[in-house]
């Protein structure tokens, strides 16, 4: 990715850039690099044309811009955003035209999602460069965050980095927003700790279920009532509905039960038995089930049913969940 951005900044521009992927942050970086390149020659927006992709967009409109000479001899770039909205016939006409006019201006097409099996798209990629901007994951994401933080003059403690990604997810836009908050929060202290992460970062909605619930269940497994309740209150403050939290606790109990009672079954088979898509969640709870006896788990399930009934009959959801957590965390539960 960095290589491509450098090429855009200094080398000869390709005829076509097909930019696709689910991460808007990285797409934006490509967009910005192209914009900087077009304005580098001092003609500002004269050599920069943007078109919003839609069903009404015609090939002729794009071709007209691509065929137009540039101002001041610099590079002219035509950008089409939301390209997945554009009709297929437009791409077919465009490919035919571009194959004959290799000296045309640069065309940058931004797709959130693209079907690369389509012939016209294949041809477009052949004519230029494909830039993939999918979300980073695992070690790559950790490295990216580490580099970003170092660039700003800070360092992450390893456990803090793991907690941070657990809370924020893999959207680089959100990651940079949350990192900015951390930098401002810690001020002159240059090392980011797990407490800093917990104090100031927001659990993003997509991570709310997984991140927070695991935090809560970890606390329940360790019979740490205050921590479990703190996460519960955090979830409630964020506007999470109690009836949405309850099934997640129930699922965790089921997972713990499955981990405890799987007997000779492999984790994968146990996961299939209980209707899970993969054994990922089961793997995560394999150690935690030791904190519960079989009877405690059954009792816990029965309390979940009771809690569900109570909430549906109008009891205060927060109180009901608190009671449930107190029960699950009590030594004699």
């Amino acid at each position: 990715m960095d290589q491509v951005l450098k090429q855009i900044a200094s080398d000869k521009l390709a005829l076509v850039y097909v930019v696709q992927g689910t991460d808007p942050y990285r797409q934006k970086a490509v967009y910005q690099a192209l914009y900087d390149r077009s304005t580098k020659d001092g003609f500002s927006d004269w050599n920069w044309v943007t078109m919003d992709g839609s069903k009404d967009l015609e090939a002729g409109q794009i071709i007209e811009e691509l065929a137009m000479p540039t101002w001041g001899g610099g590079a002219k770039i035509v950008v089409i955003s939301d390209a997945e909205q554009v009709r297929l016939a437009v791409w077919e006409s465009l490919v035919k035209w571009l194959q004959t006019k290799t000296s045309a201006n640069c065309l940058a097409i931004f797709f959130a999602k693209v079907d690369k099996r389509v012939k016209a798209i294949k041809e477009l990629i052949k004519l230029g460069v494909e830039i993939t901007c999918d979300n980073l994951r695992g070690a790559t994401l950790e490295r990216w965050v580490g580099d970003y933080v170092r660039m700003e003059g800070y360092t992450f403690k390893q456990e803090a980095l793991v907690r941070f990604l657990d809370r924020v997810g893999d959207d680089l836009g959100l990651i940079t927003q949350e990192l900015e908050k951390i930098f401002l929060y810690i001020g002159d202290t240059k090392v980011i700790t797990i407490t800093d992460v917990d104090s100031i970062t927001t659990i993003v909605p997509s991570r709310l279920e997984q991140g927070a619930i695991f935090e809560m269940v970890d606390a329940i497994a360790a019979k740490k009532q205050p921590q479990a309740l703190a996460v519960l209150h955090q979830l409630m403050d964020m506007g999470e509905a109690p009836l949405r939290i309850l099934p997640l606790i129930e699922r965790q109990l089921r997972l713990l039960l499955a981990a405890k009672l799987k007997g000779g079954l492999s984790l994968k088979d146990a996961a299939i038995c209980m209707g899970e898509k993969s054994d990922y969640a089961l793997k995560k709870v394999t150690r935690l089930h030791l904190g519960f006896s079989e009877e405690e788990l059954y009792q816990g399930m029965s309390k979940v049913i009771q809690a569900d009934q109570d909430m549906k009959f109008g009891a205060n959801g927060e109180y009901v969940l608190e009671q449930l957590i107190c029960h699950l965390c009590s030594k004699s539960s």
């Binding site: 929060y185 001020g187 993003v204 964020m238 049913i305 109008g314 009891a315 109180y319 029960h327």
Partner: protein
């Protein structure tokens, strides 16, 4: 000058004045001092937690003539106009009443113009979750790349309702509820400045009632000050209609001392004074909740309850709260809850009782010269019904002793059924009473008007699990037989005295002997005519009426 409510009068005017939310205050202060300003902020959190206040303070810090700076002067024209709420550069919009696309289009038009006399043009949109989806879409582009002189601060109590596209464009800060302690401290500051004396407990009631919202707390305080210029728990309780901590602790103390009469008097006293008993139960629950969440609240001197007892009490009062919703007379569910707590022994005492019972039985076995280890069956776990010893209870003494044990533990057995989710069998059996045990058959008697319950429990699907758990619970293979006041089959001398009382109620007020005789006489008298009728018409006998 017109009266200004406390929450407006005591709104913090600089960052050092802000209570709680330290994580946000520190970040915003650093942001101003380091001049790292984002173009859009989202302040999310429950009501009364300081979202608008911090938005205004941040606006002051941004536009102060010496700024951007966290320690703004508060005296320059811009700071003054923000304090007065008439700044041309800080535009506060109520999202709830300006929620359409037209209002947002108008905002987009205005955004293009530079601020009148300050550094930034700051838009504070409150209750932003109320905007329509079209309005959100119209706001998107502006929010993503606003002109450099524009800063958006959007505030909401419901961030879940805001589209992800908006959320990802804002730097989000989550406001937390204030703790009771934080609220009390603030109230103390306000009251001392206002020259009002208040007791600590009174402030705690106000803080607890505010549910983490400072505005609510100051609002309640305003209400209390309008009533009296000296605050004590009784006055606050009177105004808010809530029970004081002292009353609650007294209530629980009476319960823990098993002083039923005193508790009933207290309930009656509250009722007579016009207190809402449902609210009282909610107060009890709230207090118990604190006790569970923070074990330091309830000192050992007040109540000697462990966590298990607290949880059990919460469960009883939660049930009571539910029952109150459908009750005409609110006293009854509350009194029943008290009885449940006082009468139902705690787990520990139950276990102790059971151990004592088992030890007694063991001693009697040893006395009779039989070694407890001689029978293999005895050493096996009695948990599973199929494994339980199939002891034949033949002698009259055995039967009597076992029946007594069953009667003593009947409620526990019913609770076991409830715990095992056998709600229906439990509900049916609850209406009956064990009256006789003969040849491992337990006779359960039902009142006449409980015919449905008797018929239902006799169905295989209900009887089978009930018998299974009966055998499991009492460690003996037992089956259930039901009767409806048919005491003629029951030998009178075998029925315990309290059961005789029950049977008396189930029939007429006649003594049990007479009742028995009448039943026999009637059956003898009617035998001929009824049997003739049955012969001619078929069918079965439901009710027999006299010719008169």
């Amino acid at each position: 000058m017109a009266y200004v409510s406390l929450y407006r009068k005591w709104r913090p005017q600089d960052f050092s004045d802000v209570v709680g939310q330290t994580h946000i205050v520190r970040t915003l202060e650093n942001s101003l001092n380091l001049k790292r300003i984002s173009h859009a902020y989202l302040f999310a959190g429950p009501r009364g937690t300081g979202k608008t206040t911090l938005a205004r303070l941040f606006a002051k810090g941004l536009n102060c003539s010496g700024g951007p700076i966290a320690q703004f002067c508060g005296e320059c024209p811009e700071c003054m106009s923000i304090t007065k709420g008439n700044s041309l550069n800080v535009i506060e919009i109520d999202g709830a009443s300006n929620r359409g696309i037209d209002e947002i289009r108008e905002l987009r038009e205005q955004v293009r113009y530079a601020p009148a006399s300050a550094r930034y043009k700051i838009y504070i949109i409150d209750e932003v979750h109320m905007l329509t989806s079209e309005a959100f879409n119209a706001l998107l582009k502006t929010l993503e790349e606003p002109p450099p002189h524009v800063i958006f601060i959007i505030a909401t109590t419901d961030p879940q309702k805001i589209p992800a596209t908006i959320l990802s464009r804002c730097q989000r800060y989550d406001f937390k509820r204030f703790s009771v302690e934080e609220i009390c401290n603030r109230l103390r500051v306000v009251l001392s400045a206002e020259g009002v004396q208040a007791e600590k407990d009174a402030l705690e009631i106000v803080a607890a009632h505010a549910q983490g919202g400072m505005r609510d707390a100051l609002g309640i305080l305003d209400q209390c000050l309008a009533y009296s210029d000296r605050l004590n728990p009784d006055i606050v309780g009177e105004i808010l209609g809530v029970a004081t901590q002292e009353t609650i602790v007294r209530f629980f103390k009476m319960v823990s001392e098993h002083n039923t009469i005193a508790v009933f008097q207290l309930i009656n006293d509250l009722y007579v004074r016009g207190r809402d008993l449902a609210q009282f139960v909610r107060d009890l629950l709230q207090y118990l909740r604190w006790c569970i969440l923070d074990s330091t609240i309830l000192t050992q001197d007040e109540l000697n309850w462990d966590k298990a007892q607290l949880i059990q009490t919460v469960e009883v009062f939660s049930q009571c709260e539910k029952e109150m919703r459908y009750a005409n007379n609110l006293n009854i569910p509350l009194e029943l809850a008290v009885l449940r707590l006082i009468e139902i022994p705690t787990e520990w005492t139950k276990l102790q009782k059971r151990i004592e019972q088992l030890e007694g039985q063991l001693a009697s076995i040893e006395k009779s010269g039989v070694s407890p280890n001689s029978s293999k069956a005895q050493s096996e776990s009695p948990r599973r019904a199929e494994d339980s010893p199939r002891v034949k209870l033949n002698s009259n003494e055995d039967n009597q002793a076992k029946l007594q044990e069953i009667c003593n533990n009947w409620q526990d057995y019913l609770k076991l059924l409830r715990d095992e989710r056998l709600i229906q069998p439990e509900a049916f059996l609850r209406e009956g009473l064990p009256v006789l045990l003969e040849n491992n058959v337990l006779t359960v008697s039902f009142q006449k008007e409980r015919g449905f319950h008797r018929a239902s429990i006799e169905q295989e699907k209900h009887r089978e699990p009930a018998e299974r758990y009966l055998s499991k619970f009492f460690g003996t293979q037992l089956s259930i037989q039901c009767v409806t006041g048919e005491i003629s089959k029951v030998k009178k001398e075998e029925i315990p005295r309290e059961k005789q009382e029950f049977l008396k109620k189930s029939g007429s007020n006649q003594p049990i002997e007479q009742q028995e005789n009448v039943a026999i006489e009637k059956s003898e008298e009617l035998d001929e005519s009824v049997s003739a009728a049955l012969r001619i018409f078929g069918g079965k006998v439901i009710e027999i009426k006299d010719q008169q």
